[in-house]
């Protein structure tokens, strides 16, 4: 592989990794606070894509308006799922909440199939993302450049939010222990709702960018990105926002490099995430950045 190809693949890996990172944050924040693997996260992403699709294609909204609208609606969906399905189970054994999350995931997928049909829908790529830049041998779609940039902006905003605002600090406090939060005088339930809103909005953003990349959507599109983003969150140390970003980037790079370096294994690409997951749980169960795995 020459330098040009390498650059090309690095950019691809960075793009894919950014998307995983965006999705992984929702997992990691919810897990940090509720110790719940929100199985439905990937499907929430899928619904977010349909929201954006309706906005952009049916109502002809500019892409960024559709994106914003989709993020808002998806945030509401995340809160709705939490309040309707997970909240009654806060005191239950954790496995009950996990089973419920699996149920919600299948509910969204199958409702998606019923409402939107199984056939993929084309997801138009906005003009500014559709250029092809060429430097010598390297050909890059402008979307591939924009995705990491947009991701970086969103994540910078997120980090500011969780470190500077009262709600953000409450989220971080809640993922450590409940007492501090009660001292701060914020209702934990509101913090949980805000976490779901934030995580789901980021998933919608990740999903829409994902949809522009491929560029189509279908009701089962959230499953694999969702699972892989979860793996990314574990790689980075679950509960840790910076770790989720690193984990996402690492996973994206690894997948692209596997295909680039060992093309005969390309078919096994979807298994790579899980092989990495098993590896990390064996050799470094705390993830890259994480603390002790909770029991």
């Amino acid at each position: 592989m020459d330098a040009a190809q390498l650059t090309q693949q690095m950019i691809n890996g960075l793009t894919l990794g950014s998307l995983y990172a965006l999705i992984a944050i929702g997992y990691t924040m919810v897990y940090g606070i509720l110790r719940l693997i929100n199985f439905a996260h990937g499907d929430v992403l899928m619904v977010g894509c349909y929201f954006a699709w309706f906005g952009a294609v049916q109502f002809g909204l500019p892409w960024w308006v559709a994106l914003m609208g989709s993020m808002a609606l998806t945030a509401a969906l995340g809160v709705l799922i939490d309040q309707g399905a997970y909240r009654p189970l806060r005191q239950a054994p954790r496995i009950s909440a996990l089973i419920t999350a699996i149920g919600v995931s299948f509910f969204l997928e199958n409702l998606g199939l019923v409402v939107f049909g199984g056939r993929p829908k084309a997801f138009a790529r906005p003009e500014m993302f559709n250029h092809i830049y060429q430097w010598g041998e390297v050909r890059v779609l402008s979307l591939s450049i924009w995705v990491p940039i947009l991701t970086a902006i969103i994540l910078a905003g997120l980090i500011l939010f969780i470190h500077r605002t009262r709600m953000g600090m409450a989220m971080r406090a809640l993922s450590r222990d409940l007492v501090t939060v009660q001292l701060m005088g914020i209702d934990p339930n509101r913090i949980i709702a805000a976490t779901f809103a934030l995580g789901s909005a980021l998933a919608a953003a990740g999903g829409v960018l994902w949809a522009m990349k491929y560029p189509q959507i279908n009701p089962l599109m959230g499953v694999l990105p969702g699972l892989k983003a979860f793996v990314a969150a574990v790689l980075g140390g679950i509960g840790n926002v910076t770790g989720a970003m690193l984990g996402g980037l690492l996973l994206g790079m690894a997948e692209i490099m596997l295909v680039a370096l060992l093309p005969e294994l390309a078919g096994y690409r979807d298994a790579l995430a899980f092989v990495m997951l098993i590896g990390i749980l064996i050799f470094r169960p705390t993830g890259i950045m994480g603390e002790e795995l909770p029991e």
């Binding site: 239950a92 909440a97 149920g103 574990v234 078919g267």
Partner: protein, 378 residues
Amino acid sequence: MPRNPHEKFGLTALLKPGGLLSPGALPPAHQTRRRDTMLTIGACLLAALGLWLLEGHASGYVVHLTCVGAIFATLAVSYNLINGVTGQFSLEPNAFVACGAYVTALLTLSPAEKEASFILEPLIWPLSAFSIPLLPALVIAGLLTALMAFLMGFPVFRVRGDYLAIVTLGFGEVIRVVANNAQSVTNGPLGLKGIPHITNLWWSWGLLAVCLFFIVRLVHSSYGRALMAIREDETAAEAMGINAFWHKMLAFTLSAFFEGVAGGLLAHLITTISPSLFTFFLTFNLLIIIVVGGLGSTTGAVLGAFLFTYGGEWLRVVEEPMQLMGLDIPGIPGMRMVIFSLILVGVMIFLRRGILGRHDFSWRWLLASLGLGRGSKA
């Protein structure tokens, strides 16, 4: 262990000590063992008679469903052993069923059949050159699946709780990817066709009987108590001298064995298999079954499996167009799965312990609730 506030709404309440159906002060189980054995043998004979009648008189469709029900019951009972009895929430049965189905089919398909199927890449030797009867093929498939579980167990049981769930789910996904890509063994996405239709009522119910024999007796032995102790409190179980790792391995391997064999029978019932059959969706269905039946109850697993099989067929009405009060309601394909998902969520929220909780069928319970048998006067 927090008590479930919704428990009082379930059948569970009736079965609790002092409940309506409680066996009360009955003689301990070991004093009635001979009677129970006789009753079990009698019930088996009766069931055999029922199957014989069904085979002779019922439609092919009902017979097929009843076979599917027994296979799902076998799967659910096995899955419940690791998830419900031992409390290790795992999500890999689709992988084990796939392994069993592929191995059995590759062993029973005739060389000519195989050559005709494997068009893209030939099947590797020696699989391409021979075929064997179903029974030994099932045994081999079960053992290989158990071996796979055994090897999987080493990394998998280093983690607990939801990590266990996600790692086992990952394994299931890996197996599916392998089935799609290992062209020269699995024929890739095309799958295997022309598998002989051998599975009938006797095979499927015979397997269910064998599986129940092994698993019920395991659960009602010292080993079963150890498995439940691990579920209740792993730390305490270890402190009481129970090696949690090896006991989880035991439950996992045994359940994989039966899931593999059941997969083999499934392949010989539906005659065509491909990777798309063994996605997480299959695991999801089994999860609904054991959760609705009551996680931890073998009886519940069997009950759940038949409810799911027959109920699922019955629910097909929602997918077909119908007339309701003079209105034409179009059928909604896919609606059944929406309903199943809602059932799962609803059961978790409102009836967390499922229909049977952790109670299991026993003769003394049945006799007592019928007002028969020794001690029922007490």
